[in-house]
């Protein structure tokens, strides 16, 4: 019996450990090794080493680039264009003068390599879109009832809405939030769930990042820590399957070995549910006037007439 008790968590642990490897077997944008050297020389001075920008970078407004939410919201082409032509801010230079297209692709491959891809969290995903939502007063009251006071910067969250269907060979397709025709093609019936990223204590005062995947009914599907966040398998096992669409049934996560991590996950879940509800409402509005699904014709003989 003891063996049975141990095998199931061990199996799930091995599966979770294999997930990033699956992503790395996908088609890479370029040469990660070459990108690592270019990162060291051209990017590291401002953008830092994954723990946020350096002091020089902060003065210039350099963002944290190895950020799963930021990268998942952009295609390889968009990232390459930003590297070569420069970002929107004045502190973001254009590297096109001394980096080639393939060098930029190497950097993109390096940036994406250690991070989770959409296919890691939703293997059946065919398309996804994203949007940053601000939690309104009524939702905030619900979220704070579950997770305690939320600071102003915690009231905003980027939500990825993930859809199934026929999967492109290149991996899930990103539909830009401004692509209204593309958004119309994303059927609510094909929705697989939602994905958010948030902070997670990584021990000794360090801060990591956790990916939280929710089902359409707002139950927790997956909890995966990004590199540097530490082992989250036991916390994930305690949280998966919990959560509910009904606010009254939502309860804080309990994980005795690390209450602060459980609390961080509860806070993220509370924000995620409210922001995902906004995404669901927006999607419903988008498809309000869709023609009804065709129903199967019933022959008169079968209907008894």
């Amino acid at each position: 019996m003891a063996q049975v008790t141990w095998r199931a968590p061990l199996l799930s642990l091995l599966l979770l450990a294999a997930l990033p490897a699956l992503a790395r077997d996908q088609i890479s944008a370029g040469d990660r090794g070459a990108g690592s050297g270019l990162w060291r020389v051209h990017c590291h001075g401002c953008h830092g080493d994954g723990q946020g920008p350096t002091s020089v970078g902060k003065a210039l407004g350099a963002p944290q680039l190895r950020d799963a939410a930021r990268l998942d919201a952009r295609t390889d082409e968009q990232l390459v264009a930003t590297i070569l032509k420069g970002g929107p801010g004045p502190g973001s230079p254009a590297f096109g003068g001394f980096l080639s297209l393939l060098d930029a692709a190497d950097l993109v491959a390096f940036l994406r390599a250690p991070l989770l891809s959409m296919a890691d969290l939703f293997p059946e995903s065919a398309a996804y879109t994203y949007k940053r939502y601000t939690i309104g007063p009524s939702q905030l009251a619900r979220a704070e009832a579950l997770a305690g006071h939320l600071a102003a910067d915690e009231r905003e969250l980027t939500v990825f809405s993930v859809y199934g269907g026929q999967r492109p060979a290149f991996g899930p397709r990103l539909v830009h939030p401004d692509d209204h025709v593309g958004l119309d093609d994303l059927s609510p019936k094909a929705r697989l769930g939602y994905l958010v990223f948030g902070p997670m204590p990584a021990g000794e005062g360090a801060q990591g990042t956790v990916a939280l995947a929710l089902s359409p009914g707002f139950t927790v599907v997956k909890v995966v820590g990004l590199p540097g966040t530490g082992d989250l398998h036991k916390l994930a096992a305690a949280a998966v399957g919990k959560g509910s669409r009904n606010p009254g049934e939502r309860k804080p996560f309990v994980f005795k070995p690390s209450p602060e991590r459980a609390h961080a996950l509860t806070r993220l879940y509370a924000r995620a549910v409210e922001a995902s509800a906004l995404a669901a409402k927006e999607e419903a509005d988008r498809h309000l006037f869709d023609p009804p699904e065709p129903t199967a014709k019933v022959r008169p003989s079968e209907s008894g007439e």
């Binding site: 020389v41 001075g45 001394f98 492109p168 060979a169």
Partner: protein, 306 residues
């Protein structure tokens, strides 16, 4: 007397035989390998290697840069993909470049397999990627469209990393390339531009801190020292009033490189990182990227709001 002469002759013959035997054994001496001697005669490795692979009406001209792939060294793979129809096309003639295709390559064989997407390089029908072979040996490179139903070639060829190219991938090795700058002013003709200088410096700089053999690291350092010596007095246009500051940073870079070269191996990574932050970045944010107006109080900076 005759015996003495005979003995002397026999000894001389033995010495000559031994010398010949030494001559024959010489190339097998591990300190003087035959390959190195042959390499000296061959000169530098080829700058690029081209081969053509065919599949039906498709012709793919593959270019490898550098021409001799090495493990741990970045390789540029370019694919010039075109269809050669039996009946010439009225617009393109007998060669129709493959445009707008989404292709990928799989590298497998000697080491961990990798799949890379190919990027359109600007020229019609030309796609490319970078790849670093992880192991010495023969690799199979397979080209295919991402959408299996797309009208694009599916083919493969082999290449050797640190081993000769296989006979099936026979092609042409280009030894060197030279760019002739026509119309350059005589005073500028002999001196490389700052852009060219920094490009070479950047390429050499990336060789540091990679755990290369000591001889390779020394060669890279020697090249860097030579390039860094030319930096002072090369302040970019538009920064004439700040040329003294530029020269100071260039001199600091030279001192940093000397310190790196003289320092113990275990301290080199830290020294390299410090130089990149304190010297390279300090210069780049002002003189290259133009995002900072004042770097005199480094690392405190004054952003340059354009």
């Amino acid at each position: 007397m005759t015996r003495a002469w005979l003995l002397a002759a026999a000894l001389a013959a033995l010495a000559a035989t031994a010398a010949r035997a030494d001559d024959k054994r010489a190339p097998l001496d591990p300190d003087k390998p035959e390959v190195a001697a042959a390499g000296d005669k061959k000169g530098p490795p080829p700058a690029e290697y081209t081969l053509t692979v065919k599949e039906g009406a498709w012709r793919v001209r593959v270019t490898l840069r550098p021409g001799q792939p090495e493990p741990g060294q970045k390789l540029e793979l370019l694919f010039d993909v075109a269809r050669h129809p039996d009946i010439p096309d009225p617009q393109y003639g007998d060669r129709i470049p493959l445009q707008g295709a989404r292709l990928f390559v799989t590298m497998s064989g000697a080491g961990r397999p990798e799949r890379h997407r190919l990027w359109p390089m600007g020229d019609s029908g030309v796609y490319g990627t970078h790849w670093t072979p992880s192991e010495r040996g023969l690799w199979t490179v397979s080209l295919a469209p991402i959408d299996p139903k797309a009208d694009a070639p599916t083919l493969d060829f082999q290449l050797g990393a640190a081993v000769p190219m296989p006979a099936s991938s026979e092609g042409q090795a280009v030894r060197s390339t030279r760019v002739v700058r026509v119309g350059a002013r005589p005073s500028e003709a002999g001196k490389p531009t700052l852009e060219a200088l920094m490009k070479q410096l950047g390429a050499r700089w990336l060789e540091l801190g990679r755990g290369l053999p000591e001889a390779d690291e020394k060669a890279a350092l020697a090249a860097i020292m030579h390039l860094v010596s030319d930096l002072a007095g090369s302040a970019p246009r538009g920064f004439a009033s700040d040329s003294a500051e530029f020269d100071n940073i260039a001199r600091k870079l030279k001192a940093d490189v000397e310190l790196y070269a003289a320092g113990p191996a275990e301290a080199r990574a830290q020294q390299l990182s410090a130089t990149e932050t304190e010297t390279c970045l300090r210069c780049h944010v002002k003189f290259r990227d133009g995002v900072v107006s004042d770097v005199s109080k480094w690392p405190e900076v004054t952003p340059w709001r354009k």
